[in-house]
Amino acid sequence: MNTLEIARQAVEIAQKLGSKATEAYILHSKALSIEVNNQEVETLKLAEISGVGIKTILDGRLGFAYSSALDRSSLEEVVGQSLANAKETTPDEYNVLPEPGKYQEDLDLYDQRIGEVPVEEKIEQARLVERSAREYDPRVKRVRKASYQDSEYYVSLVNSLGLESSYRGNYCGVGAFVVAEDQGEVQTGWSMDINRKYDQLQAAKAGREAGEKAAIMLGATTVGSQRVPIVFDPYVATEFLDLMSNGLTAEAVQKGKSLFAGNLGQQVVSSALTIIDDGRLENGIDSAPVDGEGVPTSRNVLIAEGVLQKFLYNTYTAKKEGVKSTGNGIRCSFKGSAEVGTTNFFIQPGVVSLEELLAPIEKGFYVTEVMGMHTANPISGDFSLGASGIWIEKGQKTKPVRGVAIAGNILELMENVDLVANDLRFFGSTGAPTVRIKGMSISGA
C-alpha cells in the first residue's frame, strides 16, 4: 500500500473542495502478540490496520475527520466531513500548518530482526518469561499474563504547504503479570521490557522481576500513620513524572492549566531533579524524525537542576507565542490531530546506587506500587493514592507493607526530593531512576 501517495491524493481532494490548508496523516501498522499460560499458547493475536486523519483549515477554522477506509470514495467522504466540521469551529489565526523543513534521517528506528525471527521463537520468549517467573520462587503459583509482542508501523504525512514525510519503525516487548500465593494469601507482581532491538530483549529478567515483586509482598501488613522518608522505585517515580507532563506543555500554560505557568527561570522542584524530553533519544520508543505535524523532533531539557527552562510546543502553541515548535505535536493514532505532548520523557539519573540511596534511611517506606494514579489531578497537582511496598529500617529493606494511603501535592513532593539514583529505567517512552523524598505523611491503620 503506497500510503504517501494516498496522503497526497487526500490533500489534493481537499484543496479542490476549497480547503485553504490541509494535512493528511496515514498510519499503517502490523502487530503480533502472544500470551502463554502453563507454557501453552493461550492467545495469539495478529493485526493489520491503517487509517487516515484529515485536518483542514478554512479561514482559521479547524476541522478534523478520520477514517479507516482508504479507498477513493472513503477519502472523498472523510475530506468532506473534515471541511464540514471546520465550518463549525471558532476561527483562530494561530491555526496554521508547519512549513516544510529539513530533518536528519539518522535515527535507527527499524530492527530487521523483529521481522525476521519466526513466530515459534517469539512464542519461546513468552514461555521464557513465564518459566523465569515460576522458577524465581515456588510460591509463584499462577501467571495471569506472560507475553511477547511486536509492532511495526509506517507513517506518511503530507500537507498543502509541500511538507512530505514518511518513515517506518518497529519495536518489541515482553511482559509478565504473576501471582504468588502462600497460605491463602495472594500477591501480584508485574514487569515489562519494551525494546527497539530484538536481541536486547530481556525475557528472563522480566519474568524473574515479576516473580520477585509478587513473592516479596507475601505477608504484607499495614503500618501506623506517620511521617517518614519515602523512596519511589523507578516505576512509581515514572508515574509521578507522568503527572507533571501535562503542566510542562505550552498548551496547559496557555489555557491556565499548568502547575508551572509563570515560573520560567525559577526553581520549581528540587535541585536534585533534571527532567528531559528527547524526541531523538537512541532506542527511545517514541523517537521519530518528525512529530505528528512533520516538524523535526528535538531534545529539550525542561527542568535543569530544579529550574524550569522551557515548555513543549506544537505548531499551534508556538505560533501563538511567536516561538519555534519543539517538535512535540503528538498523535496517538490517525484518530486525532497533533496535540502537545511528551516523546521520550525522563528524569536524568544521578550517580549513587540504589543501596547507597537507601543506606542513610533510619526508618522509611520504599514504594513499589501506587493505586489510583489516574485519579490524581494534573492541574492542581493534588494526589491521594493507595500505596504498597517495602518498609526500610537502617537502610535495609525489611518487611512488605500494604494498605497505606499517601496524599499530597506533586510540586511539594518534588521539592522534597533529595536524591536520585543511577538506575534510570524506561517503561515504554517514559522513565525515571529511583527517587528519594525527605519526608512525607502516610496514613495506615
Partner: protein, 480 residues
C-alpha cells in the same frame, strides 16, 4: 454487512485445521465529538472506523486476528492466518447460520447522525457560557459532547448471527476555579444509550452548573482528615466503590485464574446481609446496556451477591465453557481490535429500606461522599481505592464542612462486610471501565450507605493521632 454464505465460508476456513469454536466480529462505528475550551469551539471531529476480528478457540487457547479491510478476499485471508493458530484435531462441523431475532428492549428517539453538527455545537457553547457566568473565579471550562453509533455483527460456528446497534451519547463538563495560587477542579457528566433525547433528561446547562459549583466548593474546602473512620456514600455519589470493591472480582476470567478474592466462594457469605449486588445489561437506555454482548450472547440481569451470599460470576463464552456454566452475556470488547473479556455492564448495589437522612444522622463522625471520582482495584488481594470528588465532614450526625483531596482505600470483601445501613435511593453514574487495555462504557450505582470504617487518605494529620507524635524527623540525608 456480509451474506450468510460468505460468513459460513469464513468460519469454515477459520476451523479448517483444528479448533472447537470460531467467530467473526464485524464492526462499523461512526463517532462525532465537539470540544469547547478557552471559550472557543476548538475541535469538531468525526470518525469512521470499520474492521473485523476473527477468532478460533481450541480448549483454553485463542487465536485472534483482525483487519480493517472488510472485503471477502481479505477476511478469508485473515481466517486462514487464524486457522494456523488453532490446536488439536479438526472437528467435523457443519455451520448453518441463523439470525437471532430477539427484539430490542429500548429504542432511540433522535439518532445522532440525524442531528446537525451545528445543533450539537450549540449545546456545547451554551454550557460553556453558563459555566463561565457563575463566578469570576472560574478560570477555564472544558465542555465536550460525543456520540457514537456502533453496528456489530457476530457470527459463530455454533450457527448464530447476532446483530446489534449501540448508540451512545455523552456530555462532560470540567471546570477550573482559582483563588490566588489555589486551583481546584470540578467535573460532571451525563451519558446514556440514547441519541439527542439524552438532553431531555439532562440539561447541559445544569451539568455545567454542577461541575462549576463543585470546583468553587473545593476552593472553600479544607484538607480531608486522614486515618480510619466511618464513611457514608450518598446515593447520588455514583458506584465506583461497588465497581472496584466487588464488580471486578466477580469477572470469571480473574476468578478462574485465582486472581480474585471472590474465587471459589459461590454460596458463601461474602458480604453483610444488607448487601445485594447486581449486574444488568438490560436496563433500558443505560450507558452500559446492549441487546447482545460482543460474542452474540443475549444480554441479561445477573445477581452477583444476594443478601450477602455470593450467587454467581460474570462470564464470557470462554470462561463459561471452562466451568460448564452458561455465558451471562458479559463478553465485551472495545472494538474489533480486541478479543472479548468478561466485563461489567450496569452494576449496582440494590436498594435497602433505610431513609438516607437517617443514615447521616446516625453517623457520629466520618466522611460523607457526595460524588465519587475514579477508582482502581487489585483483584488478587481485594485492595481498592476510589477518589472523592465532592466530600464533607460529618460531625454528630450533621454535615459540617466540605473536604478536599480525599481518597478512600479499603479491601473489597472486608468493606462489604462492614456495610451497616443501606438506603432506598439508588443512583447511577457513567464511566469508562479499563481492563487489559480495553475501555468499556459502563454505569455503576448504589443507594446511600454507611460503611463502618475505611481508610481516608487526606493530607491533614489529626493532632490526636498518636502515631504522628511518635515519629521524629531525623536528618537522615546527612550521612554519618
Amino acid at each position: 454487512m456480509l451474506e450468510k454464505a460468505q460468513l459460513e465460508e469464513i468460519l469454515n476456513i477459520a476451523l479448517s485445521k483444528a479448533g472447537d469454536f470460531a467467530d467473526i466480529y464485524l464492526e462499523k462505528k461512526k463517532v462525532n465529538g465537539v470540544v469547547c475550551e478557552e471559550n472557543k469551539l476548538e475541535r469538531v471531529v468525526s470518525g469512521y472506523d470499520v474492521g473485523a476480528g476473527i477468532r478460533v478457540v481450541s480448549g483454553e487457547a485463542t487465536a485472534y486476528a483482525y483487519t480493517n479491510d472488510l472485503s471477502l478476499a481479505s477476511l478469508k485471508e485473515v481466517a486462514k492466518v487464524v486457522s494456523q493458530g488453532a490446536k488439536g484435531s479438526k472437528k467435523d462441523l457443519t455451520i448453518d447460520l441463523r439470525k437471532l431475532d430477539n427484539p430490542p428492549f429500548f429504542s432511540i428517539k433522535e439518532r445522532p447522525e440525524e442531528v446537525k453538527m451545528e445543533d450539537k455545537a450549540k449545546l456545547v457553547k451554551e454550557a460553556n457560557e453558563v459555566a463561565r457566568s457563575i463566578d469570576q473565579r472560574v478560570k477555564q471550562v472544558t465542555v465536550s459532547y460525543a456520540d457514537s453509533v456502533q453496528q456489530v455483527l457476530i457470527a459463530n460456528s455454533e450457527g448464530s448471527i447476532a446483530e446489534d446497534e449501540r448508540i451512545r451519547t455523552r456530555f462532560v463538563v470540567n471546570s477550573i476555579a482559582a483563588q490566588g495560587k489555589d486551583m481546584q477542579t470540578g467535573f460532571e457528566s451525563a451519558g446514556a444509550a440514547m441519541g439527542m433525547e439524552l438532553f431531555e433528561l439532562f440539561d447541559p446547562k445544569e451539568i455545567a452548573t454542577l461541575a462549576t459549583k463543585r470546583a468553587l466548593l473545593m476552593l472553600e474546602a479544607k484538607a480531608a482528615p486522614s486515618g480510619k473512620m466511618p464513611v457514608v456514600l450518598a446515593g447520588e455519589a455514583g458506584g465506583t466503590m461497588i465497581h472496584e470493591a466487588c464488580g471486578h472480582g466477580m469477572e470469571a476470567d480473574l476468578a478462574q485464574k485465582g486472581l480474585s478474592v471472590y474465587a471459589n466462594k459461590k454460596g458463601e457469605q461474602v458480604a453483610s446481609s444488607v448487601v445485594t449486588v447486581i449486574d444488568d445489561a438490560t436496563m433500558a437506555n443505560y450507558y452500559g446496556s446492549y441487546l447482545y454482548d460482543d460474542e452474540g450472547v443475549k444480554s441479561q440481569k445477573t445477581t452477583l451477591i444476594e443478601k450477602g451470599e455470593l450467587k454467581g460470576y460474570l462470564y464470557d463464552r470462554l470462561t463459561a465453557t471452562q466451568e460448564k456454566a452458561q455465558p451471562t452475556g458479559n463478553g465485551r470488547r472495545e472494538s474489533f481490535q480486541h478479543r472479548p473479556l468478561p466485563r461489567m455492564s450496569n452494576t449496582y448495589l440494590a436498594a435497602g429500606e433505610t431513609d438516607p437522612e437517617e443514615i447521616i444522622r446516625q453517623t457520629k463522625k466520618g466522611i460523607l461522599v457526595k460524588r465519587m471520582g475514579g477508582g482502581q482495584v487489585n483483584t488478587a488481594n481485594g485492595d481498592y481505592m476510589f477518589e472523592v470528588s465532592e466530600g464533607y465532614l460529618i460531625e454528630n450526625g450533621e454535615i459540617t464542612r466540605p473536604v478536599r483531596g480525599a481518597t478512600l482505600t479499603g479491601n473489597g470483601p472486608e468493606t462489604l462486610k462492614l456495610v451497616e445501613m443501606v438506603g432506598n435511593d439508588v443512583g447511577f453514574k457513567i464511566g469508562t471501565c479499563g481492563k487489559d487495555g480495553q475501555g468499556a462504557p459502563v454505569t455503576s450505582g448504589q443507594p446511600t450507605m454507611s460503611i463502618k470504617e475505611l481508610i481516608v487518605g487526606g493530607q491533614e494529620i489529626e493532632d490526636e493521632n498518636p502515631a504522628w507524635r511518635e515519629v521524629s524527623l531525623r536528618p537522615y540525608w546527612k550521612r554519618k
